[in-house]
């Protein structure tokens, strides 16, 4: 079927690619804006405290962000599909303890990490099955699994605790080591981040996640395997939460039944600050990672400036609301610009 000659009355002779450039610019702007806020904050802190950006200082900034970046990467995929996974904190906690228990018995560190990831995969699958098959809102389902996993963790762990002394030295050394100012853990997070971003941008399965979040009904009609994708996304998110558990153990060397408690809210904040919109279909993992970096840096910046760390939570809250406000304003502006483009082209037609 080839159409060559049709009614030559183009109703909407849109100016070439002005729409594209606009949207690209907005999206890039969103990530650049977080980066700018981050850099301003760092510069101000450095001016106030010249010790701040020492080699150890930079290393701490990166180390603090690492675990959040990994979990936020998984979470942003879930949020893109108009869902949410509140159980990531519990998954992180139980994976960390499982890894610790295994290593305590003299296990191989690589197998230990794999074990953590598999634990996460298991709980991710559970979430995915409940959300995709049960047709129950993700918020409720994962709130349920948050408590279930935490409950299992508490029963299993009891009042036990794993400390750095129980772990192989190499494992803990890896957790705090690195190439000059760049920790190994940050390199792992970066690898995960870049691979995920590449998949989202360049593979059909990745693009389908955006489609799915943008309009679930249209996705179904376009033949996208909606349930399969949602299952996969939750599994991936769980796997990253599990991996984060192992890295948490390596970094802090200290795990008990409360590990990761309330972490899901920090993760969701990072994702939202990073511009992944809760209504699905847009945002990027790079944005989420920048959001994570920004939120964790507040923790280091305040003490460096001599401000009490009791302010951290309040400041994170303000950043969150600011981010949402900015998104809203940008969305309104884009809508208005598109409207103008349409009017202009209609007039020309």
């Amino acid at each position: 079927m080839t159409v060559t000659a049709t009614d030559p009355t183009p109703v909407s002779e849109a100016p070439k690619s002005s729409g594209t450039r606009l949207v690209d610019r907005v999206l890039r702007m969103r990530e650049l804006a977080i980066l700018a806020v981050f850099l301003v904050m760092i510069v101000i802190t450095q001016l106030g405290n010249s010790e701040f950006l020492s080699e150890q200082g930079i290393k701490d900034l990166l180390l603090n962000a690492t675990i959040l970046v990994i979990v936020a990467t998984g979470q942003s995929l879930v949020v893109m599909t108009r869902n949410v996974d509140l159980s990531v904190g519990s998954t992180l906690g139980i994976s960390a303890f499982a890894t610790g228990t295994y290593l305590q018995g003299g296990g191989n560190p690589l197998v230990a990490v794999l074990l953590a990831v598999l634990t996460g995969v298991g709980f991710g699958l559970l979430n995915g099955l409940l959300v995709s098959l049960g047709q129950v809102p993700a918020l409720v389902v994962t709130l349920g699994t948050l408590y279930i996993i935490r409950g299992i963790d508490s029963i299993w762990v009891g009042s036990r605790q794993i400390t750095a002394a129980d772990l192989p030295g190499g494992f803990v050394g890896f957790g705090s080591g690195g190439v000059s100012a760049v920790p190994w853990l940050a390199l792992i997070a970066l690898a995960v981040l870049v691979a995920t971003a590449y998949y989202l941008e360049h593979f059909g399965g990745g693009r389908e996640l955006y489609a799915l979040g943008s309009d679930p009904e249209a996705a179904r009609l376009a033949g996208i395997p909606v349930r399969k994708r949602i299952l996969a996304v939750y599994t991936f998110c769980g796997a990253l939460a599990g991996l984060a558990g192992a890295l948490y153990l390596a970094r802090f060397g200290n795990v008990d039944s409360g590990t990761g408690n309330g972490y899901e809210l920090t993760v969701v904040s990072a994702v939202v600050v990073g511009g992944v919109v809760f209504t699905g279909g847009s945002g990027s993992v790079y944005g989420a990672a920048l959001g994570a970096l920004l939120l964790t840096s507040v923790n280091s910046v305040l003490p460096a400036l001599g401000v009490s760390s009791v302010w951290v939570l309040a400041i994170n809250g303000v950043l969150l609301i600011l981010a949402i406000a900015v998104d809203r304003i940008v969305a309104l502006r884009v809508a208005r610009t598109l409207e103008k483009l349409k009017k202009r082209s209609a007039r020309r037609g």
Partner: protein, 505 residues
């Protein structure tokens, strides 16, 4: 004209004695349909006749309970939309199914993107292929632009481009023209004719009978889920077709009563909302129906919203019965006796998950209150009263509105506002997407309201409706009223001339 199967090619796609039920509702009963290459086939029927279910069966969304789907004469089972698509069936739904956040190119190629090594998407090739599709369709849409904010007409072009992109042999179009202006319909028909001439089979659904006669060769009619007939259109009249759809003779479609206009009820003076509409002045008298015509985007809906107080205006004034309305206050507009039946009944007119009773009751929350509490009995009797007056077809008044057909939903919106006893009624596209039977009822109702002394302002893109129902026609173009034409002088030509900004002849 002989039946094509006697001489011509075999049907590409056919349904044979297909039935489909949803719970106790039998949506389709023993329906047969044959689509031939190079032919546009109409599917006619009132709302609720089973057209949508039939389309979804062709699209692989529903699987028939009984009967067969035949592809090139072979019985086939579609396990999902992807199967139907792979078989070369493209469906353009009434509600566009695009991904607003993704680009036009991605929308077209979602799930079938051209690939590079290692299964990676070739974004450049996707873009180029889309550009080529746009060129073939003769439109200047930028493939990289997001689907968000596209007009309905452009969204349909994207859907057609999608169909082209996988060389669809069957194109199913569910009311593609419902929201289009005249020139957009002409463009769409140009594209459809080209596809037809190149051998595609097209199934076309429209409530506008003149369109069916313009572009289709044969018609299959459904009524209440059952097959009525499948026959050539040549030699049929609109009345014949309506009789098959409705099952009875339809009283006049535009039953306009002549009413002596009374005092001015609604007066709008020099109303301006910056960048939206400018210097809009008009009056509507008691007993009058004033039609507000114009192209989509001319600012008609926006004027109605401002008059009712949903949006603020920047300059000018609005009076109901000589009393000025407050800027941006729907509650005072309602108290003054103004009612607005909005264009988009799903999003603005109804709470879809609430019962019929409660939807109608919403506007009466202040009157059906006793000692600060809702009087449920009063609400029910008030709602029942109006539902009966408007002949809404429902099982129980406590059923949710979402279970009703489009025409009946529209009646519920009307009932909701008529229950307030308005002096001035503004209706925005009152019959869009509803069947002829209900359309005639809505028209009779509007005419009766005018006869009872209500001032009616009717916004409509349906030109015959404007010409058939209005005492006077106001025409808007790019935010200004460009003409006020009395009934005697209003013709398609005079109205279109003003609507497109050409000087009135």
């Amino acid at each position: 004209m002989t039946h094509p199967s006697d001489t011509g090619p075999a049907p590409v796609l056919a349904l044979r004695d297909v039935s489909k039920s949803f719970g106790a509702v039998r949506a389709l009963r023993d329906v047969s349909l044959e689509l031939f290459p190079g032919e546009v086939h109409a599917l006619a029927g009132e709302n609720g006749a089973g057209k949508s279910t039939l389309i979804k069966t062709l699209a692989g969304v529903h699987r028939p309970d009984a009967g067969q789907v035949l592809l090139d004469g072979e019985p086939t089972v579609f396990h999902g939309p992807a199967d139907a698509r792979d078989a070369g069936i493209a469906v353009i739904y009434q509600e566009p199914t695009l991904f607003p956040d993704l680009s036009i190119a991605e929308n077209i190629y979602m799930g079938r993107q051209p690939k590079r090594a290692l299964g990676r998407i070739d974004h450049k090739a996707t873009y180029a292929a889309t550009l080529e599709l746009m060129r073939r369709l003769g439109v200047g849409l930028d493939p990289g632009r997001p689907a968000r904010g596209l007009s309905i007409a452009d969204q349909q072009i994207v859907e057609i481009a999608k169909a082209l992109s996988f060389d669809a042999r069957v194109l199913v179009m569910d009311e593609p023209t419902a929201a289009l202006t005249g020139s957009e319909v002409a463009r769409l028909f140009g594209v459809v004719r080209t596809l037809r001439d190149q051998g595609a089979a097209v199934l076309f659904i429209s409530h506008r009978l003149e369109e069916i006669f313009e572009i289709c060769r044969r018609v299959t009619t459904l009524r209440d889920g059952a097959f009525v007939s499948s026959e050539p259109l040549a030699g049929m009249t609109e009345d014949d077709l309506v009789r098959r759809m409705v099952g009875r003779d339809l009283a006049e479609l535009y039953p306009k009563q002549e009413v002596e206009a009374g005092a001015v009820a609604l007066s709008v003076r020099r109303l301006t909302r910056e960048g939206v509409f400018t210097d809009v002045s008009f009056e509507v008298r008691r007993g009058e129906i004033v039609g507000l015509a114009g192209l989509v985007g001319a600012g008609r809906t926006e004027v109605a919203r401002a008059v009712f107080g949903i949006d603020r205006w920047d300059a000018g004034e609005v009076e109901v019965d000589g009393k000025a309305l407050t800027n941006g206050a729907p509650s005072t507009a309602m108290a003054a006796g103004l009612a607005l039946v909005p264009e988009d009944r799903r999003a603005q007119g109804l709470v879809m998950d609430m019962s019929i009773e409660r939807n109608i009751g919403l506007t009466g929350l202040r009157t059906t209150v006793k000692a600060g509490l809702m009087d449920r009995g009063a609400e029910r009797s008030r709602s029942l009263d109006w539902a009966v007056k408007l002949q809404v077809k429902y099982a129980r008044i406590a059923d949710t509105v979402s279970t009703l057909s489009g025409g009946n939903q529209q009646k519920v919106v009307l009932a909701k506002w008529l229950a307030t006893g308005p002096k001035v009624l503004i209706v925005d596209e009152p019959t869009r997407g509803i069947d002829v039977g209900t359309k005639a009822e809505v028209h009779r109702l509007l005419s009766q309201l005018a006869a009872d002394g209500v001032a009616v302002l009717m916004i409509s893109s349906d030109l015959p409706e404007i010409l058939g129902m209005a005492d006077r026609v106001l025409v808007m173009h790019e935010g200004r009223v460009t003409a006020a034409i009395p009934r005697a002088d209003a013709t398609e030509e005079t109205v279109m001339a003003a609507a497109t900004g050409r000087a009135a002849a």
